[in-house]
């Protein structure tokens, strides 16, 4: 009995001791909830409200012909925030379908600016403006060619900035697909050596791009009755949020309201998965239709049909939202790739679009680090083990956080900055 008690005490002491040395305080344990909610206000890192951010436009291809409905996207938009004194410069690459000015890049910019970096923020190569203004082929998603597009953009922006600032070292980071991009940009830099990146950080990247897009496409199967019933799903969602909205005291649609709506609607994991699936489907539809307009490949739009500034997409918009990343991969991306590399098989293309393709480089390159979550929803079962195995102690894997849910959590922000300052 006495032995049992002391054992219990010992266990209790050990667990508290463990908790004291290794506490991870990110509060949301459900991976789907974490992905959707993110980091509650009181757990966020303390960052400056404003930084001297300048939004700019730059022409990447002088002779680029832009389809009429996309007339406003001829130049690439980006932002920078510069220090007055000599400082290191960090490039930020956004995730799938997200702009240079999205919430996550803004938060990273605030964190790095506060830590004394010049910051340059770039859209994902899958973001409409990037596809239109900066993608050489107009077909995004190829890890090597996207890296070349991004590298070109970085060089052009650096051309504009180099007379104005003094840079001590160059760094690069990106989250989600931007993390995968970061790896291939760093690899390309070994060859080009324009920046000689001193360090690179991949934040929640996919291992195999194809596995991740398959998972994301499949999330829409959580819509009751499948994607054909999207409309009913949308109306029910609006109705539920509407109920909260019509009863709410205050009327602004801000984070606080959305959080209230979330609590009141109390969605289950299937509904959350459906919601995440919808959000990525919108990104995929945007990217696919934009690319189709750029290349005139006849994927959704009949190839001999021209859209004017006033053309209504009508049914084509709905078709675009019915097709997923994997449809894009098999019937558009692969077809396009075969023209450039005759004889390439689907399997080879799938394998090439992954971190495993450059495993040796990642293993032997001390400059590349990664941070990830054990329960990230964009990874297939077992894929998370790739990181500790290949990166060793350059991999930081958090026990929870879903896909980027903990990115604004203070420990995560600390670690992200420390990777570049140590």
């Amino acid at each position: 009995m006495k032995q049992g008690l002391s054992l219990l005490l010992a266990v209790a002491w050990m667990t508290t001791g463990w908790a004291a040395t290794e506490p991870y305080g990110y509060p949301i344990t459900d991976r789907w909830q974490a992905t959707v909610i993110g980091t509650p206000e009181q757990f966020k890192a303390d960052l400056p409200d404003t930084i001297p951010k300048k939004k700019r436009r730059i022409t990447i291809f002088e002779d680029r012909e832009v389809p009429e409905p996309l007339w406003f996207d001829k130049d690439l938009r980006y932002f920078y925030a510069l220090q007055k004194d000599p400082a290191p410069l960090i490039f930020l690459i956004a995730g799938t379908g997200v702009s240079y000015d999205g919430g996550k890049n803004n938060n990273m910019a605030r964190a790095f600016y506060q830590a004394g970096f010049h910051v340059v923020s770039i859209s994902s190569p899958t973001y409409m403006n990037f596809v239109v203004a900066a993608s050489k082929t107009g077909v995004p998603g190829h890890v090597y060619r996207d890296a070349e597009d991004i590298y070109r953009v970085m060089e052009r922006i650096w051309d504009k900035l180099q007379d104005r600032i003094e840079v001590t070292d160059f760094f690069v980071t990106g989250y989600s697909l931007g993390g995968l991009n970061t790896a291939f940009v760093t690899l390309l830099d070994e060859e080009r050596q324009v920046f000689n990146f001193k360090k690179a950080l991949l934040i929640n990247p996919p291992v195999s791009l194809y596995n991740s897009i398959s998972l994301l496409d499949r999330m829409l199967e959580n819509i009751p009755g499948g994607v054909d019933n999207f409309d009913r799903f949308y109306n029910r969602l609006v109705e539920q949020i509407g109920k909260v909205y019509t009863r709410a005291d205050s009327v602004s649609l801000n984070d606080e309201f959305l959080y209230k709506a979330f609590e009141a609607v109390n969605p289950d994991d299937e509904e959350l998965a459906a919601l995440i699936g919808v959000s990525f489907r919108i990104s995929s539809a945007n990217m696919t239709f934009t690319s189709d307009l750029m290349t005139n490949a006849g994927y959704i739009k009949p190839a001999n049909m021209t859209f004017t500034k006033n053309t209504s997409p009508g049914d084509l918009q709905i078709v675009a939202h019915r097709l997923g990343f994997t449809d894009f991969f098999h019937t558009y991306f692969y077809t396009h790739e075969k023209k450039l590399q005759p004889g390439i098989t689907r399997r080879e293309l799938v394998d090439a679009m992954s971190l495993t393709e450059i495993e040796d480089y990642l293993k032997n390159s001390p400059k590349i680090e990664v941070m990830h979550n054990q329960d990230d929803i964009i990874l297939a079962p077992g894929e998370i083990d790739f990181f500790p195995r290949v990166f060793g102690d350059r991999a930081k894997v958090y026990p929870r956080g879903g896909h980027l849910g903990n990115m604004e959590y203070r420990d995560n922000v600390d670690h992200m900055v420390r990777v570049f300052t140590q």
Binding site: S99, D228, Y245, A303, N304, T306
Partner: protein, 255 residues
């Protein structure tokens, strides 16, 4: 109707007429005599026959005009509106900016009060009355939002019409102000005229003072809307804005 509005309206109508002339067909263009080539994924192949969507239910017969106006608004935003707002924010001390914002929200509460009464909503009428009285007196003409604990709502004449069964009618993109509908656009005009009439009855303002008021009001309005044209990254932005605006207004009417 006061003098400036009388002067302004014909100009606005002429501008609208010119812009609507610039609006053309919303159909895609095909080479003479050709049939559309079958795309990889056609609507026939992908969609269930006869299925309608929420987006289909929105009436947009003036789409050509609306799209032209949407582009005009982007340019106006980019070259006039946003630079002015940025300049305004740069030269105005924060407390003054906040005060001016509160002042116009207090004026907006007059519109809300009138419409709450017209909607026969006792709760909104009571809350808004308290807000107006407290903020206009203790809050020094509304510059300080003393009654911030009292729930605030935004009720306009478009919602009042909706409350009594008037549907939104065709979607309409207004110059400068953006997404609206025939009903809501009419409501906006009615609310603006009423506020001007009240202002003229209560105050004896010089023309330049009226202009300052109106311009500040519009700048303050823009300063508090985060939306930026063509930043969504969607080739379907026009459609998304139309759907979300219509949905939001439907909820506003229901609240």
């Amino acid at each position: 109707m006061n003098i400036t509005l009388k002067k302004f309206l014909p100009h606005a109508l002429v501008l609208l007429a010119i812009l609507s002339l610039g609006a053309c067909s919303t159909a895609p263009v095909l080479p003479e005599g050709e049939e559309p080539l079958e795309p990889r994924f056609s609507a026939d192949r992908v969609l269930i026959k006869g299925a309608t969507t929420s987006a289909d239910e929105i009436s947009d017969p003036w789409e050509g005009f609306n799209r032209s106006m949407y582009r005009f608004n982007y340019r106006f935003d980019k070259y006039v509106f946003l630079p002015v707002v940025t300049g305004y924010q740069a030269i105005t001390p924060d407390f003054m900016e906040k005060g001016i914002h509160n002042f116009f929200r207090n004026i907006q509460d007059i519109t809300t009060l009138i419409n709450s009464i017209l909607q026969l909503s006792a709760e909104k009428t009571a809350n808004t009355t308290v807000r107006l009285v407290v903020n206009s007196t203790i809050g020094i003409l509304g510059f300080i939002n003393v009654a911030h604990e009292v729930p605030r709502s935004d009720e306009d004449f478009g919602q009042t019409l909706g409350r009594w069964g008037v549907g939104p009618g065709p979607y309409l993109v207004l110059p400068v102000l953006g997404p609206s509908s025939l009903r809501d656009g009419t409501g906006t005009l009615v609310d603006a005229i009423v506020i001007k009439e009240i202002r003229n009855a209560a105050l004896d303002l010089e023309t330049w003072q009226e202009w300052t008021w109106d311009i500040l009001r519009v700048i303050d309005l823009r300063a508090h809307v985060a939306f930026r044209y063509y930043e969504t990254g969607s080739p379907f932005e026009y459609e998304w804005v139309r759907l979300l605006y219509t949905t939001k207004r439907q909820l506003d009417v229901e609240r």
